[in-house]
Amino acid sequence: MLIGEARDFLNGANVDPANQTFELSFLGRYEYQSCDIEVPFDLPAGGIKPAHIDDLRERFHKIHERIYSIRNNDDLIEFTRWNVRAIGKRPHQDIWRNFKLRARDGPAKPKGMRKAYVQENLKCGYIDLPVYELTSLGAGAIVKGPSLIEAETYTAFLPAHHDVEVDAYGNLLVDKNLNRG
């Protein structure tokens, strides 16, 4: 019934059925607790039947253990609320995925050098760092720390032994080679 209401809501908002998804969860607690926890679950075909209770109970125990580091297998579980999260995507919401950086041709080149105050363990002071411009790097570019990468909305500082690979969407994937040198 909740899913029906959620579907009606999204249909009323003219969300294409192909762009509709529904996430199910319940709120629950052990008897006498005052705080609920949210437990995600998948709706079995044909709805929830008594045979599914064991699965729901196990899901609750696992989430409780993840949050509180403890589970109480024999305790009564109270299911206090059932939730459906209705998600409707706009058309072309993922269009940004179509825009990919061109592949990097050759090693990344800094646009200049800049002094920056850097602390590593007990050592600190100004050092000269190479500065890269994100828009000029391209997909697959590798930048090694210590260095700076400037983007339109942020500046990333890479400490020593932190290497970056730029992915096709311009994300910086940092690899911490802490054991290196």
């Binding site: 052990y30 006498y32 607790q33 005052s34 509180y68 580091s69 403890i70 007990l122």
Partner: protein, 597 residues
């Protein structure tokens, strides 16, 4: 941290030290959240009668973030017996201690400790303490002022291993459940503590992996050094000398007919940055449950001193080490010896001892010291029990925190309304009435400030709290131990005493009767329990109080206009359009120019 094996030196850079200090605090806060949210009993999840701490493996207190002072200030006393009693402590072990004869606070505080290992080396103790709703005592309460010895108390856990290799020992847990009126709740509450120490273990191991053991060891030593330096500097500002304070717990018939006197003496040595608290001139143990444990005596003395030093001082091994406590074995105000009764060791006499520590500094004159605050266990924080008529006569038992004692004033500050006794220092939470009523078959009819019950002064004590509650469709047993009924909190340096605590019951016919101060009362269907907790003492002469503050108290409903006029000699104008009253400056000046009485 096992620095006995490997001496380390500190000197971390101050930024990293600050980061690690906050990381330890956040771990303890996460432990507190686990216990609060995963526990079952209202006394734990609702009132937050719980505390968490991290100690080094050689029992030095590192972090106590957000903990009740009396629970953790001497936690080292509670964990030290573990390494004395066990020579096979391993990763994945958990131990419980609730016996004052092995360093505990009192029998209801179950102290659950877990060693934290990294690369096979024991580094820390993760500790979670919860005050349990029941201990299986002969009477349905965890506070038993008439219980003469351990044989009349609930279960003592004298350092018992309840988990090994991360697995609960079912035989041990069965013992605990068997000796408890609410076994399912008890087990759920214990497991919440287990969750907290497991969480702490995970986080500390993550910290070791990120920063390395050596860095953490250096942090701990630096943290202790910093706290010691801060404590020495604060003590160095105090006037040198010996100061004495005498206070008394109320008479308890058959236990201490004239009350329990407490003699406290401090010796302040500013040059050494040390304070010695001497309690050796005190009476022997009394034949009741009001005797203190070594843990609580030590803790109360440290708390009294800390309360008079800068609030930003870290409360850990480094600062505590600057406070020396001298006590006597076999004394009620010292180290009780087997089999003395100590079920009330964290509250009543302990409150008075902490209060003496707060107040003794007032002997130095302004601006030092504090007025006396209210002690524990009025009817508003009784242990209630019975059989729930709405749950097939299921037994319930729990301590409520509906209306409790308040704080005394100090220089520049009025008393703290939600202080809940010096043992708790404001860390206990007033119960949510909705949660209480949803769990137990009773109605809390009212809870409000008790006007004119405060001790007046230049800075006035907080007013007490009053109210009423009643059971629904059954008889409810109420156990309380309302100290400050005979000896209310006193003012200092010219401040006035507060109104005493009162315990009353309204009978079914509407008649209100006074009840004994230390009592087990059956509140029948149709009757109401009425609580009136004492106020806190005042600090300084009431005639020195700023008239504007007097008007504020009146407008808040804490003080009547009559007392404003008679005690403070402040005249107020009639209420304005918003219902507030302002000071009539001319009339007030005239009143205050009269000679003092």
């Amino acid at each position: 941290m096992n620095t006995t094996k490997k001496q380390v030196s500190g000197n971390l850079d101050p930024f990293l030290m600050s980061v690690l200090k906050s990381r330890f605090e956040s771990i303890v806060r996460e432990m507190t959240l686990v216990v609060t949210k995963a526990s079952r009993s209202a006394v734990i999840k609702n009132a937050k009668d719980l505390s968490r701490a991290i100690l080094t493996y050689d029992h030095r207190l590192v972090t106590t973030e957000g903990a009740l002072p009396i629970h953790v200030t001497s936690m080292d006393v509670a964990t030290r017996p573990l390494t004395e009693l066990f020579d096979d402590i391993k990763q994945g072990d958990m131990f419980v201690n609730s016996s004052i004869f092995t360093g505990g606070t009192h029998h209801a505080d179950l102290i659950l400790s877990m060693p934290v290992f990294f690369d096979g080396e024991p580094l820390f103790w993760a500790v979670a303490l919860s005050h349990h709703a029941d201990t299986g005592a002969p009477e349905p309460s965890t506070y038993l002022p008439y219980a003469k010895n351990i044989y009349e108390e609930g279960m003592h856990w004298p350092c018992v291993r309840i988990a090994e290799n991360y697995k609960e020992k079912q035989d041990i847990l069965r013992m605990g459940m068997l000796k408890n009126r609410v076994p399912d709740l008890w087990l759920g509450d214990v497991r919440a503590q287990m969750g907290a120490v497991r969480t702490c273990e995970k986080r500390l191991i993550e910290l070791c992996e990120k920063y390395g053991v050596d860095t953490l060891q250096r942090f701990v030593e630096d943290w202790f050094d910093y706290a010691a330096r801060r404590a020495k500097a604060e003590i160095g500002k105090l006037p040198a000398g010996a100061y004495e304070y005498r206070i008394s717990h109320d008479p308890v018939p058959g236990v201490a007919d004239a009350g329990i006197p407490i003699n406290l003496k401090i010796i302040v040595d500013p040059d050494a940055g040390e304070i010695t608290v001497d309690l050796r001139d005190n009476i022997d143990c009394v034949p009741g449950g009001l005797n203190l444990s070594e843990n609580t005596t030590n803790g109360a003395c440290r708390i009294g001193v800390f309360n008079n030093l800068d609030a930003s001082l870290p409360h850990c091994h480094g600062s505590a080490n600057q406070i020396k406590v001298l006590m006597r074995e076999g004394s009620a105000i010292g180290k009780a010896i087997y089999p003395a009764g100590t079920s009330v060791a964290t509250t009543n006499v302990n409150d008075r001892l902490t209060t003496a520590g707060n107040a003794v500094f007032s002997q130095m004159g302004k601006p030092y010291g504090q007025a006396e605050g209210g002690p524990h266990l009025p009817v508003g924080m009784a242990v209630i029990s019975g059989k729930d008529p709405f749950k097939k006569e299921q037994v319930y038992i729990n301590q409520i925190f509906v209306g409790y004692a308040v704080g005394g004033a100090n220089h520049r500050h009025d008393g703290w309304l939600t202080y809940c006794g010096p043992a708790n220092g404001g860390l206990i939470t007033l119960d949510s009435i909705e949660v209480d009523e949803s769990m137990y078959p009773f109605i809390i009819e009212s809870r409000e400030v008790r006007p004119d019950s405060q001790g007046y002064g230049e800075f006035e004590g907080a007013p007490g709290v009053q109210g009423a509650y009643y059971p629904i469709d059954h008889g409810m047993t109420i156990m309380y131990a309302a100290d400050a009924t005979t000896f209310p909190p006193r003012g200092v340096l010219g401040g006035k005493d507060a109104a005493p605590t009162a315990s009353q019951k309204m009978l079914a016919n509407g008649q209100v009767v006074d009840l004994p101060a230390f009592n087990q009362e059956l509140c029948k269907d149709g009757e109401k329990m009425m609580f009136l907790s004492c106020g806190g003492g005042g600090y300084g002469d009431p005639l020195d109080r700023d008239p504007a503050r007097v008007a504020t108290s009146v407008n808040a409903g804490w003080l009547t206009a009559e007392k404003a006029h008679d005690v403070y000699r402040v005249a107020l104008n009639a209420a304005d359009g918003s219902g507030l009253r302002s000071v009539d400056d001319v009339a007030t000046r005239s009143l205050r120019n009269r000679p003092k009485d």
